[in-house]
Amino acid sequence: MLETVKLSKTFKEKKAVDEINLYLGKGESVGLLGPNGAGKSTTISMISSLIKPTSGDVKLDGKSTIKDPSEIRKVLGVVPQEIALYEELSAYENLKFFGKIYQVEKGKLEERIQEMLEMVGLKDRQKHLVKTFSGGMKRRINIAAAMMHQPKVLILDEPTVGIDPQSRNHILQTVRKLNEEQGTTILYTSHYMEEVEHLCDRVYIMDHGKVVASGTKSELLSILSSEDRIQVQVSRKSHELIEKIQQIEHVRGVDETKDGIRIIVKMGRNILSELVHAAEKEGVQITNFHMEIPSLEDVFLHLTGKTLRD
């Protein structure tokens, strides 16, 4: 449905986005992950036609949108990171204004406004000025404003930044509903890995303007499938024990963590008896032992060397 082909953007000397290829199928929910400065917002701005790419293309149903962006604008709803609303107007007035400029039919405008207010759970606050709203409520109206014209594709740029858990849950539920019940295609960027894991069918991971990995959650997790991670809690810290563990066969790495020791071992290798033996020799008691299941956060860390909030 929507794809980018070798999309690039250079600002002066700096390449912000470097030949990225994204694909969003109809009704799909796709996550775009990356640390700050990875090029996510620039990519979104190019897809939504706000800025022109230096090279490459954005295609809607196989048709380029670069020269004439009017078609993609009709099907696209964009929720920016900022609260792009008139604070001096009420929630209702904001939705009415955006509905009108998005040319929602006059007869259907009122119905659509109420539908959107219902969706974001602010029907009872519709007459209140946006400036009196909490951060979470503003973000919910921000989404409603982008949905007024019933877009087929909704792009959300970190829509849950700096809000309370209740509003965050509400937004996640709303996005999920839009995707599952109305078939809206979603492109979702976030700093919160669990949001992307919860909402998205596929994920693109960006770093330094490039897509470094992409796929479904299980496909991405398979990047880490050659290793097992073992978390060990011990009665006391011992450098000698760490040195001994490093010498055990198939051990690829040992880290001291705040909870004890994390051991990375070649997948499927049992080192339990060697580990117990080494601990006994150093007079250290093992109090807990478990295998860690890798998360997308681990994949991200593995690929970029950074955590998402870096």
Binding site: L50, R73, V78, A84, E88, F98, Y102, A145
Partner: protein, 420 residues
Amino acid sequence: MSSFFKKDLLVFWRDRKEILLAVFLPIILIVILNTAFSGLFSSDSEPVYIDLGVVLEDDETAGLEQFENKVESLEIAPDEKQRIVEHAMQIGVNQQFVGFFKNPELSEWVTVQEVTEQEARKLVEMEELDAYIKIPNGFTDTVLSSSLLGIESEIGVTIHAKEQSTELSTIEDVVRQFINTVNMQFALGQTGDLDQAAQPVLPQGGKELVDDVDSYTFPQYFTIGISTLCALFIAQTIAVKTITEKRERVFNRIILSNSRPFHYLMGKVLSTFCLAWIQMMMTYVIIQLMLDVFPHKTASFWIGLFLMISLFSLAVAGLSGLFTSIALNMKDTNSAAGIFTMIVMTLGALGGSFFPLQGLPGFVQMIGEWTPNGVTQTALIQFIQYERLQDLVIPLGLLLGFFALCLVIALFMFPRRGRI
């Protein structure tokens, strides 16, 4: 387009601080300036009346004899002597001086009585006279010798008063102008009564009078100057709202809606027009009701004023469109507001909103008369004086032209995709 227009009006309306400033600031400023300057220009409405004493110690006959003797002693041809003496006899220095104060124009506001010096002192002390003029003995001889023979003397007219006052300054001015006129007449070799053309221009209580024409007053000037300046600030206020739209990415959302730039700009332009028009109308109506700054004006005056306010508001609307396009093009949104304030203040200064254009150097006046507020101010001041509707045709055309020019530039400058 109507969505943008309604939205801009609503956003402005909800900003209570802006509303209070827009509605009350011009009115408060005009009232304050009017009150502050009414003392300085009180003479505008109340002419000065002066009671003047003349102490005539000079014996004109004796003075003429003294002068004849002087002429006799000169080594010049007898015919020349005869001509000078005849000339001197025709002048009648004292009569001319006293007569000058009794001429109909001056006698409307100067009452002259001949008194002795003792009486004069007493009357001045009792404040029944504002001042007295002393014409000393030997004055005739001194004036004639100085004027016709070039022989200088220390003797001269003196003015005496209890203290410095507006009245005293006025008398000094009148006497100085009289002497200048008489000197000019001597120089031209004229004698006899002062004809109309040679009459000195007399001060009329600070008013500049032109035949059959009303002069404009300072309250009228303040009303026009301040209201035009404050209306210009509406353009700046609306442009600052654009900066907020840009900063908070609302403008991006508008672009993504496929809205036409012309509609967006016209929303700004129309809302500015309405706000500036309402602001100016309210200012004129309230100030008129409070201070009666335009007394006894005819219906045609109010029609002319209505037309000028409407076209000036349109010019301000054009300026707002231009500011909007500039704001959208500027990377540094914080400095944009400062730049707009500077532009408005410069227009205010050049257009005569802070001080009358007539008091500025010629080239500044010329530039000022091309600013929208300068055009409006000059036209309205002229209109107050002549009340001829046809005089407004060119200024109205200029304001319309300014609006069209601003709009064309604004559309041309409106940022293309990727430049916001």
